[in-house]
């Protein structure tokens, strides 16, 4: 049949059964909660953008290196690509090629941490820190809380990678993989908005 020919030509990646909660309900409880909290953070930043401190915000924002932010965004987007691909392929295989996707996702996360440390270090050395003004207070605290998420995410990806090496029929393996991946993508998602609000506006 045409189907089989096409399928055998391309790679076999499968999607989950229709109407399936990725991972499990609980992780989406967590995601929803996190989105609410960060929604409050985003509103706070936006209020500063146009409020009495608009000048300070604009000037401080200008001292951030946009390319550093772009690089960080690129790293997380690519990391998410690796993780998403890993999740897809892990449904039909569990060899080292699969776990490699998650390892590459972890690598992207580590590079993000390195890049952020370099960026923060450069600011702190010239005397810019959370006490400097309101913009930098929000900048360091909110990207700091996000960085905490990245660290947790790296730990979660390690668990996901270990799970991906287990046989496909291992109990709860797919659930663990999907749940962990969902958390990682949340980390990516939150950064996308932080990047826009702190670097681009």
């Amino acid at each position: 049949m045409m189907d089989c020919a096409a399928k055998s030509k391309g790679e076999v990646t499968t999607s989950p059964p229709q109407k399936h909660i990725p991972g499990e309900l609980g992780i989406w409880v967590f995601v929803a909660g996190d989105l609410m909290v960060f929604a409050a953070f985003f509103v706070v930043i936006a209020l500063g953008h146009n409020g009495e401190q608009a000048e300070i915000f604009a000037q401080s924002r200008a001292t951030l290196d946009m390319w550093v932010g772009v690089l960080n965004t690129f790293l997380l987007l690519t990391g998410s690509w690796f993780v998403a691909k890993g999740v897809e392929k892990s449904r039909t295989a569990h060899d080292s090629a699969i776990s490699r996707y998650f390892s590459l996702g972890i690598l992207c996360g580590l590079l993000f941490v390195a890049n952020k440390s370099f960026e923060w270090g450069a600011k702190i050395i010239v005397g810019i820190n959370p006490m400097t003004n309101d913009f930098f207070m929000y900048y360091f605290v909110f990207t700091g809380i996000h960085l905490l998420h990245v660290f947790v995410g790296l730990g979660v990806l390690l668990l996901v990678r270990n799970a991906s090496k287990r046989p496909i029929t291992a109990r709860n393996r797919n659930r663990t993989i999907e749940t962990g991946a969902t958390f990682w993508h949340l980390v990516d998602l939150l950064w996308i908005v932080l990047f826009a609000l702190f670097y681009l506006l």
Partner: protein
């Protein structure tokens, strides 16, 4: 371990623990919110000590009564936390996490009691103490309450872990409860920032560092109390037969 249907004392005990939680929240609302000026904060970390003395002296009777309500509320953390540990214990053949949870509950209760003690001492004789000493009491109270993320957040993690690590059908609470605990722990995190700010949203009177952890904490107590009342009414998780057979403590 028997199932709840055969163990009426367990059902009543669990209901007591659930109600410890509900009452802890209610007593805090009376003590900390309405009377005591803890949330919303009567005091402000950025103000001079004389301001502290003035505000405290002006509100002395309410602050004193409030400390008693808070003391009752925080003491109930003990039975609340032990109830969660008791349910966790039913699902362990060899107890580990139930022990860990007891330790964290005790720690949480004691640290919270220090908060109530400080609030009382603050209103004991503010006219006699040096103003900076008066200022130190609410500083101490808020630091105990907020700067203790590894304790209170850790407690949440110790509840979440035995659920997430359990095998299918052998979880002490539904899995979403584990995730709700992890989310609560995350919400406590801003409290750790109060060391670095004396004003703004991350100071101990600030919106992010005070409100988010407090609302999350008492919301968490309410949710866990609901989970415990479900167990008490035999609609919660029950250990499978092979676990129920073990009689040793």
């Amino acid at each position: 371990m028997l199932t709840t249907t055969n163990d009426p004392l367990f059902r009543k005990s669990m209901m007591f623990c659930a109600w410890s939680g509900y009452m802890a929240v209610i007593f805090y609302i009376i003590g900390g919110v309405i009377l005591g000026g803890m949330t919303p904060p009567l005091l402000n970390a950025g103000e001079p000590p004389e301001e502290f003395v003035r505000k405290i002296t002006e509100n002395l009777p309410q602050l004193r009564v409030a400390s008693i309500f808070m003391m009752i509320s925080f003491a109930l953390f003990g039975s609340f936390g032990a109830g969660i540990a008791a349910q966790t214990r039913r699902f362990e053949i060899n107890p580990v996490f139930s022990y860990i949870q007891l330790v964290f509950s005790a720690g949480g209760m004691v640290i919270a009691l220090l908060v109530a003690f400080s609030w009382a001492l603050m209103s004991f004789r503010p006219e006699t103490y040096h103003p900076t000493l008066v200022m130190m009491f609410p500083d101490f109270a808020y630091f105990c309450a907020l700067f203790s993320v590894p304790l209170f957040g850790g407690w949440c993690v110790m509840i979440a872990l035995p659920i997430l690590l359990a095998e299918e059908g052998k979880e002490p609470f539904p899995r979403w409860v584990a995730y709700a605990n992890l989310w609560a722990a995350l919400l406590y995190v801003p409290g750790q920032l109060i060391l670095f700010f004396k004003d703004g949203p991350f100071a101990w009177h600030g919106f992010v560092a005070l409100w988010i952890p407090y609302v999350a904490y008492f919301g968490w107590i309410w949710v866990m109390s609901i989970a415990m009342s479900k167990v008490a009414k035999s609609t919660g998780n029950e250990p499978p037969p092979e676990l129920a057979k073990t009689g040793a403590v």
